[in-house]
Amino acid sequence: MGIFSQIQDQMVFYQSWIKNYQNILRMPLDHGPIQTLQNLYKYPWLWQLAKVNRLLTIVTNGRQGNYRKANAAVVEKIVPNLVHLLDNLVKDTDRLVLHEDMVPPEILFAMGLKTWMSELLGILMPIVDSHSVEKYIDIAENAGIPPDVCSLPKSTMGIMLNKEVPPVKAILTSNSPCDGGMASYQLIKNKLNIPMFQLDVPYNFYNERATDYFANELKRMIKWLEKHTPGKMDWDHLRVICEERNKMAAHELELWESIRQRPAPLAAEAIYLSHLWCFNVMPGDPSGTELFEYLTKLANENIQKNIAAVPNEKYRTVLWNPPLLHFIDLFSWAEQQYGLTLIMDSMSYNRQPFIDTSTNDSMLKGLAHIIMTGPMARHTRGPAQNYFDDMFYLYTYFDLDMILVAGHIGCKNTAALNGILREKCRNKGIPLLIIDYDLSDPRVVSHDGIIQQLDRFMENIVIRS
């Protein structure tokens, strides 16, 4: 790698770093020093979020050229969106709705409501600082929540129990993705003492009965929101949001096509972190479409110049289950150590990319499908066939060499499929590693412990074979 490229890479980092801090500083400037201090006192997690530029360091570490640019661009997208979300702490709080991560916010946006995703902090904080949600997990467990419940709802409950939740006026949730997540909302409702609507997602949604039931659930939700919040449904606005989401999805499909190439032009965070943020937190935002357009352009440039995201790409993998939140550095380490490239993951892969915007009903059906076939609803709760079919389809479609499962100890749904998965992989001759760890709590299995598992797998199974 030439000195010029190295300088360019450094420039990418510092430009992005400055841009992100400019965005972060916008918050105290907009809110004023007193309000900012009050917020920092009331919401101590703001201190953690202020470190969001750490994410830039993590995702650019060891990455070069367009791959580095792509990952930096993803962080550059997250930071201003996050600052915008934090505005909701003080502005228009009568419109602020707490929503579960499995309920995409398009309808809320279309109703002119402000959103706060309950699990946002539980997801983002350990990404930025590995140990940052331990405190909240402990609060939940000390309140009597069993330690074996998934650490994501536990950290979310901990934040609520510690009264660090923004001033939300209503709660919107569902029965997904798991019993622990679903059950946590009754506790949250009891704690916040505000109205709550729960979407009932069918288990098996491949029949007309279930689809109709769930589309009607969305209608009931809209009525409920109109009754309990100042929001009013604006179908034209919903159409604009859905069409923008469709554009973003089209670019994402193009991006996925490009990473089928061996070696892949982009990988890891450029694929999954972009999806995680843009499709779950800010769908329908034109800057999301721009980001995916940019990512696709970078990928195509790399293909044209025959440049690999990971210069020594030797192995390609899918990551099943949510990414290892407190250790997302794992893949930059694995790229350098083994030339192991993360191509696709279960959280990004969707089977319902587009929404039919021709009528109000068709939009609702499209959104209903997106929720029902959302990765965790489809894989975690849904029939086992969904889980295995998608996994083996991705294995073939993206020309992969192995399957990695992030075996989060709190995920009973997927743990219960490990036995079948091992046998199926053995029969198909697919190397499989189920990483034992906890999604958000590094005290359960440390980073060294995770690395050790991957090391043993790579050395004993993959390289030897």
């Binding site: 069993p146 679903m182 909302y185 506790l187 098996n204 009965r209």
Partner: protein, 372 residues
């Protein structure tokens, strides 16, 4: 020689089950209260609540598939199914009731692939829309049963099945009501044996047992000495020995708010000209499993009401480990009961009856707390 204490409850469920099967009755296994027993009670079919009472050791084989972080009920059932001890079951019907049951179904299908294995989608709500959808799901289940077992399930025999079920529940209710009195003619463990038989035997096998018990109860003294009347709140309890272990320590289990108990399972199902809607409404609105998203207040009310009706001195909440819905619910129930000044014990347990010594220690301490 049997004493008066045990004559009434001296029946063998296993023997009666064997007799029924020898009589060409067809046991259909079901694993959750959201499965409609009425639909499994037509023709020669009878509903058999799947249990793992026959499990004699651990769940080593099942753990390979379901993993050790899943509910021990599902692991125990899979273990004995893999050990061919449930071969007599001719059809399996699951409800998509919780994470663990759904995965038990998936694993059973993969490992054993029974001839008839069905999973019923169950709403998490109990309002009109959910009932309508659920009644369609029940219709689909009914069609699948009819087709596989070559049994005509029509409105008439379904109405008869609901009627038979209701009569059985009413008879049991007469026995169960004794528990509201100051003095009880049976122990909680004995009553639990009766309930276990109710959920696993054909209705016709239950009738003589119930009649016999009803006849003997008026002259029967309370078989155990106790210091406190307790309510058990839990999910599935199949081993009466577990209740016995609690009662051996000075508590009398007078109320059983758990899946295999009587509260509120003895409620009768209303009957109109739409039996599917009736069944759907009954199942969604009567069952009080914390899996339901909109029945939290009703669940609390039921516990409150039970405490009053049964003169409860203390509540034992006994969630099975690794059950998230019960784990989170228990935390809230404890806080609810404590606010009302009701002594409460959280007794986390495994499905199989074990660690009797530990149960004794915890229950003894709890009874002392109640008596203070």
């Amino acid at each position: 020689m049997p004493t008066q204490m045990n004559i009434a409850f001296n029946f063998s469920t296993n023997q009666l089950l064997e007799t029924a099967i020898n009589n060409n009755d067809i046991p259909i296994g079901y694993a959750c209260n959201y499965v409609p027993r009425f639909l499994l009670n037509v023709g020669k079919l009878f509903p058999y609540r799947i249990n793992a009472n026959r499990l004699s050791g651990g769940t080593e084989l099942a753990d390979i598939y379901l993993s050790q972080v899943n509910c021990s009920y599902t692991r125990s059932v899979l273990e004995i199914a893999m050990d061919d001890q449930l071969e007599f079951i001719r059809g399996w019907i699951f409800a998509a009731g919780c994470d663990h049951l759904r995965r038990l179904y998936d694993n059973l299908q993969y490992i054993i692939a029974p001839d008839f294995c069905y999973i019923l989608d169950v709403p998490h709500k109990s309002g009109h829309d959910a009932i309508s959808w659920f009644s369609q799901e029940l219709n689909a289940l009914s069609a699948a049963i009819s087709k596989h077992f070559q049994i005509d399930i029509n409105k008439m025999n379904l109405a008869q099945s609901i009627s038979d079920h209701n009569s059985l529940m009413e008879s049991l209710q007469l026995i169960a009501n004794h528990r509201k009195n100051d003095s009880l003619p049976f122990s909680g463990a004995e009553f639990h044996r009766l309930m276990h038989a109710t959920w696993t035997l054909p209705i016709q096998s239950m009738k003589p047992i119930i009649e016999n018990i009803k006849n003997q109860l008026p002259n029967r003294p309370c078989p155990i000495q106790y210091n406190a009347r307790v309510l058990i709140v839990s999910s599935v309890i199949d081993q009466y020995e577990w209740i016995e272990a609690i009662e051996n320590n000075g508590a009398l289990v007078v109320a059983d708010r758990f899946c295999t108990g009587a509260i509120p399972q003895l409620e009768i199902c209303s009957q109109t000209d739409d039996p599917f809607y009736n069944m759907a409404a009954h199942l969604l609105q009567t069952n009080v499993c914390p899996r339901m998203m909109d029945t939290y207040e009703r669940r609390l009310e039921l516990i409150d009401q039970t405490i009053q009706d049964y003169q409860i001195d203390g509540v034992i909440i006994a969630p099975i480990k690794f059950c998230d819905i019960w784990g989170v619910e228990t935390t809230q129930l404890i806080s609810f009961l404590k606010k009302r000044g009701i002594p409460v014990l959280r007794l986390e347990r495994d499905y199989s009856f074990s660690v009797e010594g530990q149960i004794s220690t915890r229950v003894q301490a709890f009874i002392e707390q109640i008596m203070q």
